[in-house]
Symmetry: C2
């Protein structure tokens, strides 16, 4: 008002919808960090690590800097991708921050991008005031309510929950015939005294093999008012789906136990979330859950033997709706649990939710949708329909089967950049803690960087002549991921002697250290590293995914150049660096701008089906339309798999 | 074959569908008794008691005998009614035996007349053979079944019982993919190995305040293959509806108890009936129950407080269907319990079932439908629709509140005829046992006969000058119902002295026996009799019913002459003698041929809704169409009631 000449600079930050306002121009990285956006920054703002990628929206991208030209791909630059650290924010602009540019911590909070959803849930609350009955008006309580609802809201009630019916006479009479009715389709599922129509909440859950993501949603506005994650406690009965199925198959007590623990955890998380948001569980009038087929069956206490034995069929792939109480879940007493349909034994409803949330089904063009996990589900949508596969990519991207692997927790190396000249790595750990191990995105980065620096060849073999490898206690080569250790190593006479001679490790008695005696090079002591076996694990994992993609393309008879978009969903999918994913050949070499990371799209899909009746119907329609393709019976499966274990030549 | 000249005589006996075959002509009464038809016979076949009425079908009635002309009404004779004892069966004929002509024992077995029902139940079993899944055909178990049913039987399955789903994989695999599926509308409710499509049964129950009638029905043929009756064990918490409501209202433990006992009794009876018929309870795939609104609510464990307090509203009058297991009833695990809609707090689904079974709703003309009980429900169907009332006729017709009253059990006097000349009664007891008391039909007979013999006047007062009364210990008059005692009485000097003097009882010191001292006339010792208070009870009961009829007629603006038919339903309704009912003024003086006794029409209606989907829909349609009329707020209620307590002048 006072100084109209002084114009603030406004930065619109998508997809989180934040507005940052400055009085004077700022460095982009600093401005975003100051604004609470936890961008990655491995190189300290020098423009060399290339991790703080942002997308300039609305043609506001300035010419690329020299550093950007060096670090970013040409198609990225053309697409408007820039590095935040290379920008000066001196004008009103809008930017988009890909999930892959954010640190782990913030990504956990930012679930998938949510499309605009028209709020029209299957459940709705109605406040009504009734005339009490008299000897001249002896209508039954239930009919009285039905008629009042029909008159005031044009509803068509046909059914009522049995437990609600029992409470009805007392609720009506104790509340002077002023009550709020919760209606689900044509069924009354709840009755409360007074006007409670504003308290209308639902829960959407992505029930993962590892993590459970729980969203609390206001069903009047469609807003997510609270989120909470929890570990899936079934983990104590087996890390992966198959070991849990085996556990449940052993005896019926096991089957009951594995169902009970997850139901208990869901109840606990819902309870905590409700308490944090100041509502009661009775205010929660609908629950939508998505998950893989095993999680789906185990949650409901359905038999899983047929899921664990060839040909691995689901018991049911239909949408399931049942009273939440019948599944042991405690929300509003008459409320329903809705489970989206699954597609096959290894393609669950989380896949459908992902397709729904990322709007793959109805967009034009050829679109791949990928949700990377222990099993990676991939859909290819073409003009001829949708086909999905499930591929056993294994747990390497979750840090399992990797010597120093760990989950994406504090201290995990999540980003790796290797200087091709010195072969010294730069790393970023979650929470900037001392390295404790390496998580999936870090391993993927490391492999891509090792390839680029020619420390490994296209067959994945360590190249000792690179002069930056150590020998581990088993006598194999390894690459140390901690920069300080590298500096030490260079000052480590013994090890330097070993590595510079290009010595074949493990069987050379002329080595300065005796590996047969189990000698450890001092520089290795407790340091996080990556060895040959780790690389093989990544080769198998990425080959599985690439094989799935290739067979989908082959089945649809299109070449990878015809792919218009690759939607990468899931927690891990949003941490990975798309460039590295292409560089190691996990994805075909498409233009990077075609790769869209959508975060936890499964949770978003679950929410969409919670908030909108028509989107729920759409999910069911998607399930009908997706064809399942069994990879292992596809004739070219083995050929594709063998070929895909190789890495592409570095560009 | 050998002797073609020798032609047997064939008697078709309706409605029980029995064929009796004789080689030579027989007396009608004897022939029927020999054939196992337990006709009443008070006079020993002399044609004086008029109890063995039969209806000659197809114009086969011979001219009436002198005795028939004396005992039967003119319109009865015109209508083809004759006395079995007066007939000679010497040709092939068809006869119809009204329930009122049968002894109690047989009537309990012969439930109401059943109209021809097109068999089309809501549940049906389908046998299917499936192809097992392979890696090239990984369809889920549920989808496999859905598609097989759709292909073979054009069904549309959308839902499956949760418990059935759990059993599905094992049932399929253990039975080589050959299974029988029970489908209810669009829901799979049962799965069995092998072809069980022939084993398809349902249960229909008339849940009365006093008795529970259970029918076991073959759902493939519509045939009732077994019947069983049981007492309603809730009787221990109160004889009538209102005392049970009060018991349930006292505390929640009572409410649970009163529901539990009846559920337990239903389970027990179903179990016994299934065992007797050689089936298992798992073969029972649908259950239909009708009953008054209190029985309906108490069965479901619904609150009844609002039913017990003015304005006596039902909690719900909608049709209810729920899993039988949710109501605690053990039949096929996924089977449903269907409860027909009720109309109001005191007009239950038994009334709708009666209207359905007796086809009142859609027949032309003005029809009254009456189900006599502690509460008597009456419907009047005219061209302008249907109106129903409930009238508190009290328990007198069930033997309660009557000094020697008893239920219709062994030893109960069920028929009474009084010789107008000697004033000596002839009686028939159930099971031809020594009289133990008198049941409803006996009391009704007794009152009508006392009126006809002018032993009581039109105000119901004993007329001592009739010379056949005794004085009881309370000093009031009474009429002894045991013939032998009458004969003794005539030889009892003391008592004869009292009665022939026309002595006003109880205060005459000149009496040969001292009533003030509590002397009892020896002839009364333990003899069943009827006293002034008993007659007042009957006056009140019949007045309540007549008042209901009168107000329905008044409300519909038609006179009783316009009534085309009176359908009398219920156990008691089929025991009563229609002539006596008209003679005491319980019904208006319509032509007797307009009175049709249909037996337990409520049970038949329940069966109809079990066997036919369209009849179930019709029952729901009837419920919508019937208007409830509250008698007590009708302006002329008191006038009608007072007037109706009087008896008509004997004809």
């Amino acid at each position: 008002m006072a100084d109209t000449n002084k114009k603030n600079i406004v930065i619109e930050v998508e997809p989180i919808g934040k507005r940052l306002v400055f009085e004077k121009p700022q460095n982009g990285l600093q401005a975003l960090l100051d604004g609470g956006i936890e961008l990655k920054c491995v190189c300290g703002g020098k423009g060399t690590c290339g991790k703080c990628r942002i997308l300039m929206l609305e043609n506001s991208a300035p010419a690329a800097t020299e550093q950007e030209l060096k670090v970013l791909g040409r198609d990225e630059i053309e697409h408007g991708v820039r590095l935040a650290c290379q920008q000066i924010f001196d004008r009103d602009i809008a930017i988009y921050i890909p999930a892959s540019s954010l640190t782990e911590h913030q990504k956990l909070q930012v679930t998938g991008a949510e499309a605009d959803i028209e709020v029209d849930p299957v459940v709705k609350k109605y406040f009504i005031e009734l005339k009490p009955p008299t000897l001249s008006d002896m209508e039954s309580d239930f009919s009285r309510i039905k008629n009042a609802l029909a008159n005031s809201f044009k509803t068509d009630v046909n059914r009522i929950d049995y437990e609600v019916l029992k409470k009805m006479p007392a609720e009506l009479r104790q509340n002077s015939w002023k009550v709020t009715i919760t209606l689900r389709d044509d069924e009354i599922i709840y009755i409360e005294g007074g006007d409670k129509s504003a308290s209308s909440y639902g829960i959407a859950i992505d029930l993962g093999t590892t993590k459970i993501a729980v969203l609390l949603v206001d069903l009047n506005t469609g807003q997510t008012i609270g989120k909470k994650g929890a570990m899936n406690p079934q983990i104590s009965f087996g890390e992966d789906v198959m070991s849990r199925i085996n556990f449940a198959m052993q005896d019926s007590a096991n089957a009951v136990k594995i169902t009970d623990v997850v139901v208990e955890q869901i109840n606990k998380t819902i309870n905590e979330l409700a308490a944090e948001c100041g509502i009661t569980v009775d205010d929660i009038i609908e629950l939508t859950i998505v998950g893989n087929t095993a999680m789906h069956h185990l949650l409901l206490g359905l038999p899983v033997r047929q899921l664990g034995l060839s040909p691995f069929t689901a018991l049911t792939d239909s949408p399931v709706q049942l009273k939440a109480r019948d599944a042991g879940i405690i929300i509003s007493p008459g409320a329903y649990l809705y489970l989206m349909p699954v597609i096959a034994g290894f393609v669950g409803s989380d896949h459908i939710a992902m397709i729904l949330a990322s709007e793959i089904a109805d967009k034009a063009g050829n679109i791949l949708g990928i949700d990377i996990g222990t099993n990676t589900e991939i859909v290819l949508k073409t003009d001829n329909g949708m086909q999905s596969v499930s591929t056993a990519s294994g747990p390497a991207f979750e840090g399992a089967h990797i010597r120093y692997g760990m989950r994406a927790a504090s201290g995990a190396i999540e980003r790796v950049v290797i200087d091709p000249d010195t072969c010294v790595p730069r790393i970023q750990t979650i929470g900037d803690k001392k390295p404790a191990g390496i998580c999936g995105s870090g391993i993927l980065d490391a492999v891509a960087e090792l390839l680029k620096a020619k420390i490994i060849n296209t067959r994945g073999k360590f190249q000792p002549q690179s002069g930056c490898l150590c020998v581990d206690t088993n006598g194999g080569y390894q690459y140390i991921l901690e920069p300080a250790a590298h500096n030490n190593r260079l000052n480590c006479g013994k090890e330097k002697a070993v590595s510079t001679t290009g010595l074949k490790p493990g069987n050379d008695s002329s080595s300065a250290i005796n590996h047969d005696r189990g000698d450890m090079c001092p520089c290795l002591d407790g340091k996080v590293s990556i060895n040959q076996k780790d690389i093989v694990e990544i080769q198998l994992a990425k080959s599985a995914i690439r094989t799935g993609i290739e067979i989908l393309l082959e089945s649809a008879e299109i070449s990878f150049e015809k792919i218009d978009k690759i939607v990468v969903a899931g927690a891990f999918g949003s941490y990975i660096d798309p460039k590295n994913v292409v560089d190691i050949g996990m994805f075909p070499r498409v233009s990077l701008k075609k790769i869209i990371q959508v975060g936890n799209a499964a949770a978003v899909g679950a929410k969409m089906a919670l908030v909108s009746k028509s989107l729920r119907e759409k999910a069911e329609d998607i399930a009908e339309r997706v064809d399942y393709l069994e990879l292992t019976v596809f004739p070219t499966f083995s050929d594709h798999f063998a070929k895909s274990t190789l890495f592409p030549e570095p560009k």
